[in-house]
């Protein structure tokens, strides 16, 4: 691992990944208690992607993604209180309780949402990037999507347009090997090396380990730097593993219990921790401090969400139209 990062940054990656992990675990508990409802898709195991990516961006860069969006939102700077309140359907949530888990939005942080139609966010990403190009800004748009989304027509239409029009979209594929219960080998021609398809659109593409936050960050940093120069699209396939079921409703009967082991999956948070300890970048005391801070933030978030009022009935009618 070679890197231009400093200690603070590494510790911050650790903190953010842990924050997302604990946030997700808290969500799981609140779901079991019936306080979060509907569909809940946890990001556990994929934290390095969001954290490594966002740290490589400018605050004004756009980020858009799919329904598995808590990690993206938090890494882009969304307040965990507001996010948790949204998941609990509270008036204090980011969408006043009307969006829920799959639809986090934070306009101030340029987090353009959580979208729940598979691949539906991709054409929108092209539009965000088109706006930047139109205004001759050097902002970029990061578009997160899953391996399952690759098989939607909109994936294709968007990559083609982004290439023909030279739009600054960073296509960031989170390949966790599964779309719900369907393994990518059974759904995608050519199997799991999806980044190779980017070449068909004349878009430079790479595949990297999405469970290594330092590698993620470095790759995205390099990529973004070159995008700001030439304004064109890029494609990164981040290989990762979804620890939990597709959603809380999924008992994952379709995969072997020891699949993760067989794949040699290394936890992104553990990996970074071990790396930092090994090279004495942080010590146990510092780690404990971070842990405590994270635990506190999450328990505050849960408290805030639980204590927040439910929306008044009139909220139902608000913001249908501008």
């Amino acid at each position: 691992m070679e890197s231009t990062l400093n200690k603070q940054q590494l510790a911050e990656f650790y903190r953010q990944m842990l924050l997302i992990r604990r946030f997700e675990e808290a969500c799981g508990r609140l779901y079991m208690q019936g306080k979060i409802r509907g569909f809940l898709h946890l990001y556990i195991g994929e934290e390095a992607i969001a954290v490594g990516t966002m740290a490589a961006l400018r605050p004004d860069d756009y980020v858009i993604g799919h329904y598995r969006d808590h990690g993206h939102a938090i890494a882009k700077g969304m307040d965990t209180k507001i996010a948790m309140a949204e998941l609990c359907g509270k008036a204090t949530g980011s969408s006043g309780g009307k969006g829920g888990s799959m639809h986090l939005f934070d306009s101030k942080k340029h987090f353009m949402g959580g979208h729940a139609i598979v691949a539906g966010q991709m054409p929108i990403a092209a539009g965000l990037a088109l706006a930047s190009k139109y205004r001759k800004e050097d902002r970029i748009t990061v578009c997160f999507f899953g391996d399952g989304a690759v098989n939607q027509g909109e994936f294709h239409e968007t990559l083609n347009l982004a290439s023909v029009w030279k739009l600054p979209v960073l296509f960031l594929l989170e390949n966790n090997l599964y779309g719900m219960g369907t393994h990518v080998d059974r759904s995608r021609a050519g199997g799991r090396h999806i980044y190779e398809a980017a070449a068909a659109y004349d878009i430079p593409g790479v595949q990297i380990n999405g469970m290594d936050v330092l590698g993620m960050n470095e790759c995205v940093s390099e990529t973004v730097k070159s995008m700001r120069k030439d304004g064109g699209p890029r494609f990164i396939e981040a290989m990762c593993y979804r620890y939990r079921g597709h959603s809380m409703a999924d008992p994952t009967m379709y995969r072997e219990r020891d699949e993760a082991e067989e794949l040699g999956i290394k936890d992104p948070i553990e990996s970074l921790k071990n790396f930092m300890l090994q090279f004495e970048i942080v010590d146990d005391g510092e780690l404990a401090e971070i842990n405590a801070k994270v635990e506190a933030e999450i328990s505050d978030a849960v408290q805030f969400a639980e204590d927040s009022p439910t929306p008044d009935l009139d909220a139902m009618y608000r913001n249908v139209y501008a």
Partner: protein, 324 residues
Amino acid sequence: MAEMILREAVAKGLREALEDDRVFIMGEDIGAYGGAYAVTRGFLDEFGPERVMDTPISESVIVGAGVGSALAGLKPIVELMTINFSLVAIDQIVNHAAKLRYMSDGQFTVPLVIRTVTGGGGQLAATHSQSFENWYASVPGLKVVVPATPYDALGLFRTAMKDGNPILFAEHSLLYGMRGDVPDDWYEIPFGKADIKRSGDDVTIVAYSRMTHIALQAAAMLEERGRQAEVIDLRTLRPWDKDTVLQSVRKTNRVVVVEETWRTGGFSGEVASTIQEEAFDDLDGPVARVGGVDVPAPYNGMLEAATIPTAERVLQALNDSYGI
């Protein structure tokens, strides 16, 4: 006679259908995962991957592949995980499945059954809680089936498999756990034949899919007030059974139409307009309509519940129209 839940009734229909070699089913996560709503759990083992095909997340080609294999003489059953996702395949349904017989003047037919899941109430928010059956019900060349009970689901499904036309078969997610009697003996339920789920002389409530049960609740509440409601479950929207509805209205002189989709532009407009066209002089007041509130579905449970018709709102609508 066996008691079963609606999910089991549909699964039974699918199993029967699969006895015909020309029948196969395909859709997202219907195999290894067992179906997003568990309808096809166990099917992959039972029938093998050539008859139970997991597809990529590509609704358009899933439906199109159904159309093509139907043109070639097979009898595909396609599952769209929910009706919300049918929007990315709607061109194949409306511009292809529904039109090929007409455009070829009968040279080709498209015996395709598209099963899907409709309705809200699960706190799945705005893009995952819709009911577009009314749109499909406006398309010549399609048929639209909207069962409310296990008995109806099985009987209608059997008819769908024999029908020979492209059919949208929409199962309500909140009804999968609904229990009901299903005869052991073979029966079928024709399309375009509404079911009187409860008879009564004072007022008619027309509904379909899950709203049939809201209608029955409203009828129970009316009974407490000494009024007998006739509850008509349309069962199919295209064709829809106006005769049964009109006959009832001619008897009761009062009618309310209940549906879950947004009230504005819903199918209740078709039903209400038709009733007043054909039974104007029999009406004691305007045909009442109760539909979903005209907003995207909010995630919050209390808000969402407030968008969906309730028995109380049915009673209120009757009161507004007929002062009862």
